[in-house]
Symmetry: C2
Amino acid sequence: MDLQSTPQGVVAGSIPLFAGHPAHELLPISTVRRLVDSMWSQPDVVRLFNYGDEQGNRQLIEYLAARLQRSENLPVCRENLMIIGGSTWGVEMISHHLTGPGDTILVDAPSYRDALHIFRDAKLDVQPISIDAGGVNVAEMERRLRDLASVQRPPKFYYVVPNFQNPTGITLKRERRQAIVDLSKEYGFDIVEDDVYRDIRFVDDLPPSFYALSGGEKVLRLGTFSKTLAPGLRIGWLIGPAETVKRFVSSGMLRMGGGANPFTAAIVADFCSSGRWEGHVAWLRNQYKLRRDCALAALEAAMPSSTRWTRPEGGYFIWLRLPENVTVDELERGAKAENVYFASGKGFFVDPEDGAHHVRLSFSYVPLEDLQSGIAILGRLIKQLEGR
Amino acid sequence: MDLQSTPQGVVAGSIPLFAGHPAHELLPISTVRRLVDSMWSQPDVVRLFNYGDEQGNRQLIEYLAARLQRSENLPVCRENLMIIGGSTWGVEMISHHLTGPGDTILVDAPSYRDALHIFRDAKLDVQPISIDAGGVNVAEMERRLRDLASVQRPPKFYYVVPNFQNPTGITLKRERRQAIVDLSKEYGFDIVEDDVYRDIRFVDDLPPSFYALSGGEKVLRLGTFSKTLAPGLRIGWLIGPAETVKRFVSSGMLRMGGGANPFTAAIVADFCSSGRWEGHVAWLRNQYKLRRDCALAALEAAMPSSTRWTRPEGGYFIWLRLPENVTVDELERGAKAENVYFASGKGFFVDPEDGAHHVRLSFSYVPLEDLQSGIAILGRLIKQLEGR
C-alpha cells in the first residue's frame, strides 16, 4: 500500500478514523479526466504552463463571485476575491501579513489542530475561548476582550471554523455570530472565517456567514475545493476587504511565484464554469450524509451511556466525550493494538490536557463497513476501560 | 490577448523584455499531455487527487536524490530533500522559519527583486553587498560581518542566486564561494542558495555549489522545474541539513495542506522518472543559448560604446549599465512610448537609486525578431538621450 495514495501514517489494513480526507470513491477522477482531455485543444492551453496572475485564475474568480452573489446574496466583487493554494495558504498568509510574533489572537477551544500549529509557528499568543453546542461562548469572549484591552493586548483576529467545526462538527449559532461581529467592531479585531465545510452540509440552510453579517468589513473568509473536488488540486479562495486582498496579491510571495497553481486552478475553473460543481456537490452531500448517519447509528449501538458525542449537520467529523475515568491516551493504546486509529482530543487544545477525554472521529474517509467496525471496537474498548 | 496566457502587465502588441518567463514554444506541452494521458490508467491515480506526503512526491524525491548524486556527486539522501511549490515557497518558508522581524540578512546588490520583496514582507533588515563580474565582493562581505558582529547583529543568512544571477546573469566564482563558506562557519550564518538557473547553462561546467563546498552544512539550496519544465506546474525542491528539512516538513502549513501540489508533482515526477527531463533540458539549453547569442549580437549592433552589458553563460538575463547621463527612468518613458518594456534596475537594489542607470533585459520570453527589434529601439533611445 503506497503511503502516497493514503493519508499520512496509515498502517496497511488499519481503520484510519483520524483521516480528514475525502474517500477515494468520492473523488471526481473521471470528470477531471474528461476536462483535462478537452483542455489540450484550447487555444490558450499555454496558460496552464506559464506563471499566472497573482490574484489567481480569472475565470475561477468570476465564477466564485457570481456563485457567492447568487447563493448567499453576498456583495462580492472581483476585488474582494483571490485564489489560494487551499485554505492552508490563507491561514499562513493571514498569520504572516496581519500579525507579528507575540501578537494575541482568539481561537475556539477546541480548535482546528493544524491551524493552531501554524499560529504557533508564527509565534502568536493564542488565547482559547471555550465552546458549547452552539459554538463559542460569547460572554467568555467578551470578558477576555475586556481583560486583553486592560493590558493593551487586544487580539488581532478571532479564528473560527464556523460551520461543522473541525474537530467537533458544531455550527456556530446565528445570534452568536452577530454578537461577535458587534464585538469585532467594538474591540477592533478581524474575524478569520475558515469556512471549508460549508458546502458539505446535510441541512438546507446555514446561518449567515460572518462576511455576510458584517457586510464584508473586518472579515476574511476562506473557502476550498479540497472537500468538494479534491485536496490534491490544492485550490481554494479568500474573500475579504479589497485593500486586504490587494495587500496579499501584491506580496513578495505572489510577485515571485505568480498566483495559486495555474495548472490545477484551470482544471477547477473548467469544472465549475461547465456547471458540473453544483451537481457533484449535491451528490457528495448525500454520500457524506449516509456516512454521518452510519457513524451515528454505530455510535448509538456501540457506546456506553456515559459517552457523549456531537451530531454534526455537515462536514467530516464527530466529537466524542469519554467517560470521566477513561482517558484518550488509554483508548488510543487499546485501539492501536486493534489497528484502529483516531485523532486524540489533545491536539485540538492550546493546553493538551483539556482534550484528555476527547476523541475526533472522521466519517469522511473509511468505507462504511470500516466505520461501523471501527466504532464497534472503540465502544467495546471504552466499556472495558470504564468497567475496570 | 488574454492576460493569463502572457506575463503580468503585458500590453498587446508590445515587446516585453522584462518577462522572466519561458517562451511559449519552449514549454513541453505535448509531452506533458502524453504523460497525463497515461496517468489515468495508473493503479494509484488517486494519489494525484488526495492530500500528499508533507515532504512531497516520493518518486520525485528519489529521482532528485539520484540525479544530484550522479551529476554533482552530492551527498544527498531522502532526508535532505523536500518538494516545494516553486523556489518561491522555499524563500518564503526560510524567511518565516529561520528569521524573525528585525533580523539581519545579507544579499547581493543588485539582487533578485521578488526575493527582496519577500524579505521586506518578513520585516528583515536586508544588508546589500556589492557585486562585480565575479559575483559578490568577499572583502566587503567580511568587513560587513565584522561590523555586524561588533553591534551584535550577526546575519541569519546570505541569500544568493549563484549561477547566472537574476538580474545580472553573473556567476559567482569558485574561490569566492569557498571563502563565503569559510565565513559562514566563522560567523555562524546560513547560506540560502537559490539555484534556479543552474540547468539553463550554456557552458559545460559550473563552479561547485555552496551545498557541495560545505558538505551540506549550513546551506539551503533551492531548485525549480519552473525554468526547465513549466512555471505553471509550481514545483521545485529544497535540499538542506536533515534537521532543517524535518523542521519545514513538520510545520503547520505542511501538516495542514500536505506537501507541494500532488497533482502537478506527479506530472513532474513522471516527466523525470521516464528519462525525458535530461533530453528536454539539453534541447532547452540550445534554444536559450540561441536567444542569448541573438540578444548579444543585437546589443553589439545597437548600443553606443558608453553602454556596458554582461555576457551571461546561462539563465535568462542580461544586465545593462547605461551611460552616465542617461537614467533608467528616462529610458523607460521613451521605451514605453515605443511599446518596449524592460525591468528597471531600481527594483533590484535595497536603495533603488543604486539602480538608476541599470536595465535588466530578459532574452527568455520574446520571439527572436522581437528581441532584436526591442534592443534596436533601446539602442536608438539611449543614443538619443546620451546626445541631448
